[in-house]
Symmetry: C2
Subunit: 328 residues, 2 copies
Amino acid sequence: MSKKVLELLRKQSRDYISGQDMADQLGVSRIAVWKQIQALKKHGYEISALKKNGYILRSSPDLMLPAEIKAGLQNKMFCSKIYYFPTLDSTNNFAKKLAQTGAPEGTLVLAEMQTQGKGRLGRSWFSPAGGSICFSLVLRPPVLPSYAQRFTLMAGVAVAAAIKKVCSAAIRLKWPNDLVIAGKSTYLKVGGILTEMGAESDRVNYLVTGIGLNVNLDQNVFPADLRSRGTSLKAQDPHNLPVVRVKLLQQVLLELEQYYKRFLKGDWENIIHEYRSFDILTGKTVRIRQGEDIISGKVTEIDSEGRLVVKSNKQILRVIAGEVTFQK
Amino acid sequence: MSKKVLELLRKQSRDYISGQDMADQLGVSRIAVWKQIQALKKHGYEISALKKNGYILRSSPDLMLPAEIKAGLQNKMFCSKIYYFPTLDSTNNFAKKLAQTGAPEGTLVLAEMQTQGKGRLGRSWFSPAGGSICFSLVLRPPVLPSYAQRFTLMAGVAVAAAIKKVCSAAIRLKWPNDLVIAGKSTYLKVGGILTEMGAESDRVNYLVTGIGLNVNLDQNVFPADLRSRGTSLKAQDPHNLPVVRVKLLQQVLLELEQYYKRFLKGDWENIIHEYRSFDILTGKTVRIRQGEDIISGKVTEIDSEGRLVVKSNKQILRVIAGEVTFQK
């Protein structure tokens, strides 16, 4: 109901709209409209009221409420259904449970804050309230499990493209799935992608793609151990300007949908070409940890299958998985 | 407790053992021993009692009780923990839930009967009480998701090898994962393997391998639509002899463990070579359904990566996934 009241307020954005008008249009009482106005104010909407004229929407809060996301969203497939939480343990865990019980492709799980945000390889992901974008999408691509790796690279390109459009940050990709900004001798992480799947040996049942972005965090809110390695889009902005999270989220969802469609149509060659334009590793000397093993060498390229090509002791290695750090 | 009483009865298999003796050895009362004897009888154990001499075990039921499975089991890794159910919806579903909450490698889920047994591609699997072996194993191999396909082929070889040893059936493998016996113009299915996994894009979190075997089913118990395509090991035996299910299960678990160890050590080349010795498709004209598409052609081999090689209109196709039927 509050969503419908919000829609009416937005529609008549330059003038007051009376409580009676809204009540009539929605087929409810004026008291019911008033209650929804109070609920919207509680969520941070600034709404002015004038006795004879009614209500007008002055500003919207920077919350990623479903009604905000849907307003002006250009997507068709994604966001078929939105699950929104002020706080959640992990959007990926919740989305996996939904996927296992049949949630359709495009289901979106969104949290203002995660208490147990997950990164790759069982690591945790710092995602406090207000400053991050954390969401997970349920997808059901008709592909083999081995395609999940390509899918993750594709998602990285989509998110990087969205960030570049919305806030002109010099965003780069650190293979396979970190969103980073180049620093003096190293890089600072602004986001990551965690793809999980349920599959049979020769078909994917579902993919859950979790995306975590540091958007409006100030550098000093990072825990001490992350401060030298993490940053946010706001902290990297020359004027320290915050990003409107809903706007960025909408762009990320739009790019993800468009790249996903291209991916399913077999446009992999162009996608990996675009990936290379964001790649931060080529030319760098790196260490790659694969379980107990460590490879050292110089990255020569990301190959056509999305593998990291490393020259190590005159040998050419094509790396499929591993944890990459810059060699000091 | 009944497991310990059973162990004592087995230990003294040729003579009576008194209730007092057992009570002393187990540190419980004679009444407690008597209660466990009654429980064992309820499960189908034939136990004779003589007032002055005590108890003797005459015969064990053909139930796959954990105590039966563990008696004489040569495995080391698998069966670290057994979950046994007279009836369960699906051993794979139960094992997946266990795997998602941290169950260790080797956890076994076993059911005398499944009410919603699952086959590949969302199909159902007929598994009535008493005649089948249905179990699922939780595994955590340190491999990429793309290796799950090889894993399934490996499991097929292991199960076929176990069946061959225990009941000399002319068991064959129909790519990728059906256990069949060759018929006149076609084949009859005696079992199948369903591997499911939870994974990130570049590492497997868990595999759940479900194995369903028709062991002692009579041909007439199959539903009408399956009767011409399914059979059991007993129905195929020249003397119609039943198979002791626990014995077969133990052998299957042993072979699975041994092949799994070889698989992890990189012995794939020999494993796929053994797969070929069971392969029923090479030389046959087949139809392969892949979603909406259908390929027709002659199978020329299973290649070194486990793909089905098909000659179709002078083209050589290497098939990774699909549903194969003989061309009539």
